[in-house]
Amino acid sequence: MSRYRIADDVAWVSHEALDAHELPSAYVTRLPHGPPTTLEGPACVVWLALAEGGSSDEIAAAAALMWGIEPDEIRGDVLALVEELVALGLATTG
């Protein structure tokens, strides 16, 4: 199974606290040309899980834990998002 991580030439910043009353957001870019990309809400949660690295199952499990839901509920969406991030060059495999 593929393992995913944030690509080497990426800079990112996020709201430090995943406050339930605020929409968590991460701001991500490839260096040095950009463009900047905003990952909001669940997409930000997946990004923070991706920052730890792992398989899509592990990332889904970490995101589900942060989100407080069952991994099975989001596994398909998580994989789709991670693959999209790979296509954008923001994430990589291996």
């Binding site: 910043v13 870019t29 990952l39 997946v46």
Partner: protein, 291 residues
């Protein structure tokens, strides 16, 4: 698209300014890494923990570049779409900084020296970078001055900006005697004694210094006439004084362009010259009236 992927968007306009500044620091550092450019990140997210009161947010990126590497940095910035908006002659009183703009990353202020430092700029960079540390900004390692140099940079900036108390508080007031002694030692090495004194309330100890009036004006304010008189006093040598007077008569086209949002026309420059002249007349008439 799934609901989750719909929430991943290229959304520059929605990006908070704080996030933009963090990413912009990382962009500049990437350019420097790729081209072997020596620079230091200053202020904002480059400030080490504990040196500044919380809640402060920068609106632009400040970097100090090794002066002999400036041309490399300029080429690098412009290669990714930054546009120069002010030059070093018009960017500030000290002719020490120029500004670049990027539609995604905002403002980058490139400094070749720091206000208050009087030794040769190349040597000053060596001194300020001597104890530099790698500090993460947007998850990228960025070189920043060491703690002592950061204290001095923040105090000098505060003095230049009219005595910002938060920076003085975080970088000087709370420093213990040993830390203050280290800052004073570095200050002497950089020839920045008058500027430091202006920041920490000791300026009157330097009444005889050529730059006294200039720093007094920064800290305590004054009219444009007072500022020019102070700058004239601080300028050393006939040539420097002549250049200063020439620039005093010249409208700052870069700033006017930023203010108007378009390159100024000849009529607009002329109107601005007349406005400055009238302001000078007003100042003089107030001065005469006081006698």
């Amino acid at each position: 698209m799934t609901p989750m992927t719909q929430q991943a968007s290229a959304a520059t306009g929605q990006m908070p300014i704080g996030a933009r500044v963090h990413l912009a620091h990382a962009v500049v550092q990437k350019l420097a890494d790729d081209r072997g450019i020596d620079l230091l990140h200053l202020k904002g997210p480059a400030v080490l923990p504990g040196l500044r009161a919380g809640g402060r947010q920068s609106s632009d990126v400040d970097v100090l570049v090794r002066p002999s590497h400036l041309h490399l940095l300029v080429t690098a910035l412009e290669s990714v779409g930054f546009e120069q908006r002010t030059d070093f002659a018009t960017g500030s009183v000290f002719a020490h900084a120029a500004n670049w703009w990027h539609d995604s990353w905002g403002w980058v202020d490139v400094h070749v020296s720091w206000p208050g430092v009087t030794i040769d700029a190349e040597r000053a960079f060596e001194v300020l970078s001597r104890d530099s540390v790698q500090h993460p900004i947007a998850h990228r390692a960025c070189p920043v001055p060491g703690r002592t140099a950061q204290r001095l940079v923040l105090v000098l900036h505060a003095a230049r900006s009219g005595g910002g108390t938060a920076d003085i508080e975080g970088s000087w007031t709370v420093a213990d005697p040993e830390e203050r002694a280290e800052v004073r030692g570095l200050t002497a090495e950089l020839g920045a004694e008058v500027a430091l004194a202006a920041g920490i309330g000791e300026l009157e100890l330097h009444r005889g210094a050529p730059t006294y009036a200039l720093w007094h004006q920064f800290v305590h304010g004054g009219s444009r006439l007072d500022e020019w008189r102070a700058r004239l006093t601080a300028a050393t040598g006939a040539r420097a004084k002549a250049e200063l007077l020439t620039s005093a008569l010249r409208v700052n086209r870069d700033h006017l362009r930023m203010e108007l949002g378009h390159p100024p026309t000849r009529q607009e420059v002329r109107a601005r010259q007349l406005r400055r002249l009238r302001r000078a007349v007003d100042e003089l008439s107030r001065r005469v009236g006081r006698r």
